[in-house]
Symmetry: C2
C-alpha cells in the first residue's frame, strides 16, 4: 500500500491512498491524517488496503489524479524523529579525509532530530546563509506504531508500518562546533524533506530483508548524478536501530527512524551526500573540487523498483530564508 | 490563566482551565486539546481567560474539583522539546568535580529531547536499571506558538504563551558515552515529567522579567530538601534560547524550550539535581556521599508565589520498567 498526505491548508494535511503507479489517489473517509492511521493501524489497515486494491484496479469511486506537488511530507510533523548513522563506509571516508578521530562507540550512532516542521517533496528549502555548507543526505526512514520499552531488535522491527525516503538537509559548516559540545545538532540539522508517498513493507517485495531496503538510491544535483548507493549496505538494520532507541524508554506511534546517509563502498556507487563526495576527492585527488550547495541549486532523489519510482521523487530548490 | 490536560483515555487528553488556587477546573467547549489551543492562541485566549475569571470568581457552570492525579503533562506529547543548559553555576561545579574540559562554545548549550511521551506529575517513572545513575533535574520550560525563522531574542520572547515546571530525568551513567559521540542524548534522557498546570506570564507578575522566572524552585527527595535554587539565575534568558533555536529554522506552535537544571551559587540554595549535589560533595568534602536514585525513591518539585504553589507539584516514584 502507498499513502500520502495532501495539502488542505491544515498543519497535518489530509491522508490519501495513492496507486502503485503513483498516478491516482483517493481520500479514505477515516482516518483523516497519517498520524491517526499510525495510532490505530491494526483497525484501519484492512480498510485502507481494500481501497488501495480498488484504486489499482481502476475501481475506486472519487479517485483523482495524484499531484506530487500537492503532497506534504507523509507525516508533516511528527512527535519524534530519530536519525541513525548506520553506514560504516560513510564514516570511514569522513575520518580518512579530515583526520577525524573515529567516534568511540560500539553502539549504533543516533541523534534526536527536529520534527515539528517536515517538508514535502517539492517544497522550496529555506536556508539562512549558503556559506553554512548546505548539503543533502539521502536516507531511508521507517515509521513505527507503539514500540514497548526495552524491545529487542526482532520484536521492534515487527512494529515497522511504513517506509519513506528522506533528504536530511545538513549544514556542514555548523556541524563540527555542535558535535564538540556533545549535545548534538540544533543549527546543523534544519527541516528534513520527504518523498511524497510512504509504503508498506509488502510493496518492497524481496528487496526488503534483514531489516534493510536493498535497492539503489539515486541522487542528482542540478541534473548531475552524484551517486546511486545501495541502501542495503547498513552495518546494522532498522530492528537494531529501534532496539537502541527503545533501550531506556518506549517509542510512541508515529516515531520516525532514519538510516543515516546511505553509503556504499562498491565501485561506481558514488555518494548520497556532498560531504562524502568531497571526502573522497580529498583522499583520492588530494584536493576538494565539489562545492556545497548554493541558493538556486536543485537536489533530486529517487529509488526505483523494476524501473518505476517506489516513493515518488524528491525534487527541490535551495532558497534563501531571509530574502 | 492556568491550564491543564486531564486524562480521558486519549493520547492528547482534554484541555481544562484550572483556578488560580488549583482547587477547581472546567472544560472549555473548544479547543479540546492544549496543542489546538497553542495553534490558534490569538483566537482562543480571550474565551479561555473569561472562563478562568469565572472559575476564580466561583461562577463557572460545570466546574469540578481539580484532581492533579488525573493530570497528564500539559502537553502529553509535543512536536519539539529543546532543552537548554543556561545555568553557568551548574556547569562550573561539574567541571571542577570531575576535571571535565569546559565545553567550548560561546553560544547557548541546547539539545533536542524526545517529546513523544511526556509524563504527568504523579505518573510513576519507569527506568530500565537503577545502576544507570538515575537523577532528577528541576527546570522551567516555556511553550511558544509559531516563531519565525531567524527571530531575534526580543521578537522570539513575544511568542512565549505558557510556562511550565519540569523534571528532566537523566541517566548519569549513560550520559558521558553519548556526549562523546557528539550526537547528543538518546539513552541518557528518557521521558520528561511536568507539573500539572501551565500558566500564562501574567500569573507570574513581577517575578517574570528579563525573559526569566525569578523564584526559587524547591526539590525534595524522599522528603529531604536538596535545594531551592532561584530559577532567575540563568546566564541567558528564554528569548536568547529561542533565538538560538530559530537560527536556521522556524519553530512551530507547541515547541517546548527548557532552561536546563536550575542552579544558583547563593549560600544555602542547594541543588536541583543529584549530579550537582555530588559534584559539590566531591569538591568541598573530597568524596561523594549522596547516591543516585533507586527504585521506590520519590522526587517532589514545587515553585511557590506568596506561599501558594504556582504550577502544582510534581511528586513521583521511580519504578522498574521491566518488572
Amino acid at each position: 500500500m502507498k499513502l500520502a498526505t495532501l495539502k488542505d491548508g491544515s498543519r497535518d494535511g489530509r491522508l490519501a491512498v495513492v496507486s502503485r503507479d503513483l498516478a491516482w489517489a483517493v481520500y479514505p473517509g477515516e482516518p483523516r491524517t497519517m498520524q491517526a492511521a499510525l495510532e490505530r493501524w491494526d483497525d484501519v489497515e484492512a480498510t485502507l488496503t481494500a481501497l488501495y486494491d480498488q484504486l489499482n484496479a481502476g475501481n475506486a469511486a472519487d479517485a483523482f489524479a495524484f499531484d506530487p506537488h500537492n503532497a506534504m511530507a507523509p507525516l508533516p510533523r511528527a512527535y519524534q524523529w530519530l536519525d541513525g548513522s548506520a553506514y560504516t563506509n560513510h564514516g570511514q571516508w569522513m575520518e580518512r579525509a579530515f583526520n577525524l578521530t573515529p567516534i568511540d562507540t560500539t553502539l549504533p550512532l543516533m541523534y534526536q532530530g527536529g520534527s515539528d516542521d517536515l517538508l514535502g517533496p517539492h517544497d522550496d528549502v529555506p536556508f539562512r546563509d549558503d556559506a553554512h555548507g548546505i548539503d543533502c543526505e539521502a536516507e531511508v526512514v521507517v515509521v513505527v506504531d507503539d514500540v514497548p520499552f526495552g524491545a529487542k531488535a526482532a520484536d521492534a522491527a515487527a512494529h515497522i508500518r511504513l517506509v519513506m525516503l528522506a533528504n536530511d538537509w545538513s549544514l556542514r559548516g555548523l556541524q563540527p562546533r555542535e558535535m564538540k559540545t556533545g549535545f548534538g545538532f540544533i543549527h546543523a540539522k534544519p527541516s528534513t524533506s520527504f518523498a511524497p508517498v510512504a509504503v508498506t513493507l509488502d510493496e518492497l517485495g524481496e528487496h526488503w530483508h534483514d531489516d534493510r531496503l536493498h535497492l539503489p538510491l539515486a541522487v542528482d544535483i542540478n541534473d548531475r548524478r552524484i551517486g546511486q548507493p545501495n541502501a542495503g549496505e547498513m552495518s546494522v538494520g532498522f530492528g537494531r536501530l529501534l532496539e537502541h532507541a527503545a533501550f531506556t524508554r518506549r517509542l510512541r506511534a508515529g516515531t520516525l527512524i532514519g538510516s543515516g546517509t546511505v553509503s556504499d563502498a562498491a565501485d561506481g556507487a558514488g555518494s548520497a551526500a556532498l560531504a562524502e563526495v568531497r571526502a573522497i576527492e580529498q583522499v583520492t585527488q588530494g584536493q576538494i573540487r565539489t562545492p556545497f550547495l548554493t541558493f538556486g541549486d536543485r537536489v533530486r532523489m529517487d529509488m526505483q523498483r523494476d524501473g518505476a519510482s517506489i516513493f515518488g521523487v524528491i525534487d527541490q530548490q535551495v532558497v534563501s530564508a531571509l530574502g
